[in-house]
Structure formats: structure tokens, C-alpha cells
Amino acid sequence: MTNLQPYLRPTSIEPALEALAEGKRTIIAGATDLFPSRGNLSTTIEPILDITAISELSGIQPEGNGWRIGALTTWADIGRSSLPPVFSGLCQAATQIGGIQIQNVATVVGNVCNASPAADGVPPLLTLDASIELRSTETTRVLPLNSFILGNRSTARRPDELVTALLIPKYSTTRESPSRDITPVGGFVKLGARAYLVISIVMVAAVAEIDSDGVIQAAKIAVGACSAVPKRLTQLEVDLVGTSLGKGHDALSRQITADHLKVLSPIDDVRASASYRLSVTPHMISQALLACHSE
């Protein structure tokens, strides 16, 4: 490891993969998570692979029936994109992460790879059924997001692999007998001590099919910062079908029970207590669903 060239900035994928095959490196793009975790860099820095010059990793493109979000796609790119309404939750998250200077350089893939339990990007991506594309000199593999993130700051990426893209499949409904088309719409809400430049206490993303009467026909809900890895609430998703949003926020949040939240395991930390997190979560879910309806 000591013989590795300390800083590499290749302009194409192949030399990047060869460098990773040669030895372990920290991969950076926006690098916004690197500095806070390394202090002031006053001593040394580990071997770095800077991927910002690899132009083939840029861009959001339709691919197959879905979308490909390249590893260099920044939050500002997502915020400015004209993705369909199912992506609204991801786009809303994009404008709430850090501040504008951070959104201009920080990448969506970096947010996922950093694997913070409070990563704002992960809940919306879970509601989009996102997968991760990993490449090495030997293989290309695709993992669903919920098997890619293993725990706090831990992912299934091998040291010789580079995450090259996020893959978002065409939306698939959870309705059993979809008789007519309803456009799925996404929503995202985040609770922090202030609006910006803050680590979330709880965030909720939703994708919902809401009919013209305001009744939920299908829903996908994910909660972040309440477990080591953000979670989908699958039982709640089933139970929400048939619920009218017209009954308002309070009634909607009361419908969400402790049982629905039992997959969550929040902790007490400097930002909030575990019990506070659990008590606000139903309200946040209700707001996320209402955000889907108002989009």
C-alpha cells in the first residue's frame, strides 16, 4: 500500500479500475464527506482515487425502461433535471442537502457510498427501488440498494470495485389489479434543527399513486435516520391502500401505529432521543404523503 501513488485522477474508467485492483484507495468525487471525517488533513492523507475527470460517469440518461444516474451526478444536477414526477422526492431531497455550494459538487452516488444512517438521498432512492452498478477489472455486478448498504458506514463494495451508476427501474405498481393508470408521484420531508446545513433527525420519502378522489391506491414509504440503514415500511405500505388524504394530517398520522414502525430502531444521540424520533415519524410520513398529493 505504501508504494501506491498517493493521488490519481484518471480520465477514463479502465485506469481507475486498474488502480483499484492494485490496492485499496479512498474514492472521491465531490469529496464533501472526506474532509469532515479526516480533520484538517494536517498530517497525511490516504491514497486517493479522484474520479471527477472521468466524463463517462456523468449524466442522467434513460436506459432500458428506466434511468441511469452516473456516479458523477451532483445534487444540483438532480435539482435542475426534468425527471418524471415519481422522482419528485429525490428532487426535493436534492435541494435540502447541505447548501447550494455542497449541492454543486456532492454526488448522489457519494451520498449512498458514504452510507450514513442519515443520508438524505437513501430514503427517496429506496422508494424508487434503485440498484447500484459496481465495476471491477473482472466483473460488473448490480445490487439492489437495500443489499448494497450493510450498516452504518458499511457497504457491499469490494475494495477493487468502483460504483459507476445508480439504476432506477421503470416504476412498478404494487396495486394488485391496476385497472387504470395513475401517475406515481414522489415526496420527501426532512426534520432538522434548522432548515439547511444540518444532519437530519428523521427524514421520510414516499412514492404514491393517489387517485382523483385523493385516495391512496399504492404507496412506497422509506424512513431514514431511525435505523443503521434506512428502511422501507412494507406493512404500512399495504395498510395505507384505500386511505383518503382528504381526512387531513392528524387523522392520517394517527393511522400509523407502533406496529408499522417496529422495523425501525432509532438511537439517542446529540440530535434527538430515540423516543422523539419515533414520535415524530408518523407526522413526517403523513407530510410526505401530502407532499406527493400537492406535487
Binding site: 498517493p6 493521488y7 485522477r9 472521491i28 465531490g30 469529496a31 464533501t32 474532509f35 469532515p36 484538517n40 488533513l41 497525511t44 492523507i45 486517493i48 479522484d50 471527477t52 444540483a76 447541505g98 447548501g99 447550494i100 455550494q101 455542497i102 454543486n104 459538487v105 432548515a195 439547511y196 446545513l197
Partner: protein, 153 residues
């Protein structure tokens, strides 16, 4: 490592350590000390510069990452003796108290107006969300930005 970049319209080339942050390169190697280091944790925005026209916190970027890029710092805003309209507006509207956040505020504000030339007050406040003023003098900062936006249209 050898790095080349353009700063305020002038080409620079230097040999720096890999771990050099852009803000330290600007301040310590080029002597451009107008860009302040406030928090060193990418929170406060005092170190905001433009990289290829976009506002970025220069304490969160390695100098090596912006090789070949076009950087603008607060020193590049004024034109000879004439202040940039945003600097003039901060002066006229008393948009600064201690002045520490001001270079970053000016850089963030000009970047905001290049994307949205006629923002509402709310949009200005949201656009400056990445910059903290330790004097809490936000009212006149927002007023300064709005006066330039109004003056331009």
C-alpha cells in the same frame, strides 16, 4: 504534484502537496487572502469561490481536483478601481458588520443571481442558505442582493 489553474483570469502553475485544500492554495500559495476560512468543516460558506462559474466551498475541495479549472475569488470581482455591483450594494446597504462572511456572501450572491437574475426575498434567503453570518446581519445582506437584482432588471 504539479497543478495548473486559472485564477481571476490569470494562469498559475505550482507544485503542491496532494492534500492541499483549494482554500489553502489560494491563500498561502497565491496570497489571495480575501477568501476566508471560517469553520473548516464546509458549514459556514466564508470560503466560497466560483469554480467554472459555480459557487463551491473551497475548504471542501482539493487543489488537485480543480486542475485546469477557472477559479474566481473575491479579488477577481472588482474591476480596477470600480467595485463589482454586488460589492457596491453591500457597501450601500450596510450588508456587513464584522465583514468575515462578506467575501463568501458576495460570491454566493453573484452565483445566485447568475442562475436566477430576479429572485424573490425568499429565494435570496434560500440561495444564501449555505452561508452563515456570525453577526446575524442577514437582513441587510438580503437587502443588498435584492438591490442588485432589482437594479439589473
Amino acid at each position: 504534484m504539479q497543478i495548473d489553474m486559472t485564477v481571476n483570469g490569470r494562469a498559475y502553475s505550482a507544485d503542491v502537496e496532494d492534500r492541499t485544500l483549494l482554500v489553502h492554495y489560494l491563500r498561502d500559495h497565491l496570497g489571495l487572502t480575501g477568501t476566508n476560512v471560517g469553520c473548516d468543516t464546509s458549514s459556514c460558506g466564508a470560503c466560497t469561490v466560483h469554480i467554472d462559474g459555480q459557487s463551491v466551498k473551497s475548504c471542501t475541495v482539493l487543489a488537485a481536483q480543480v486542475r485546469g479549472a477557472d477559479i474566481t475569488t473575491i479579488e477577481g470581482m472588482a474591476n480596477d478601481e470600480e467595485l463589482h455591483p454586488m460589492q457596491e450594494a453591500f457597501r450601500q446597504c450596510h450588508g456587513l458588520q464584522c465583514g468575515y462572511c462578506t467575501p463568501g456572501m458576495v460570491m454566493a450572491a453573484t452565483s445566485l443571481l447568475s442562475e436566477n437574475p430576479d429572485p424573490s426575498e425568499q429565494e435570496v434567503r434560500e440561495g444564501l442558505e449555505g452561508n452563515l453570518c456570525r453577526c446575524t446581519g442577514y437582513h441587510n445582506i438580503v437587502k443588498s442582493v435584492l438591490s442588485v437584482a432589482g437594479g439589473q432588471s
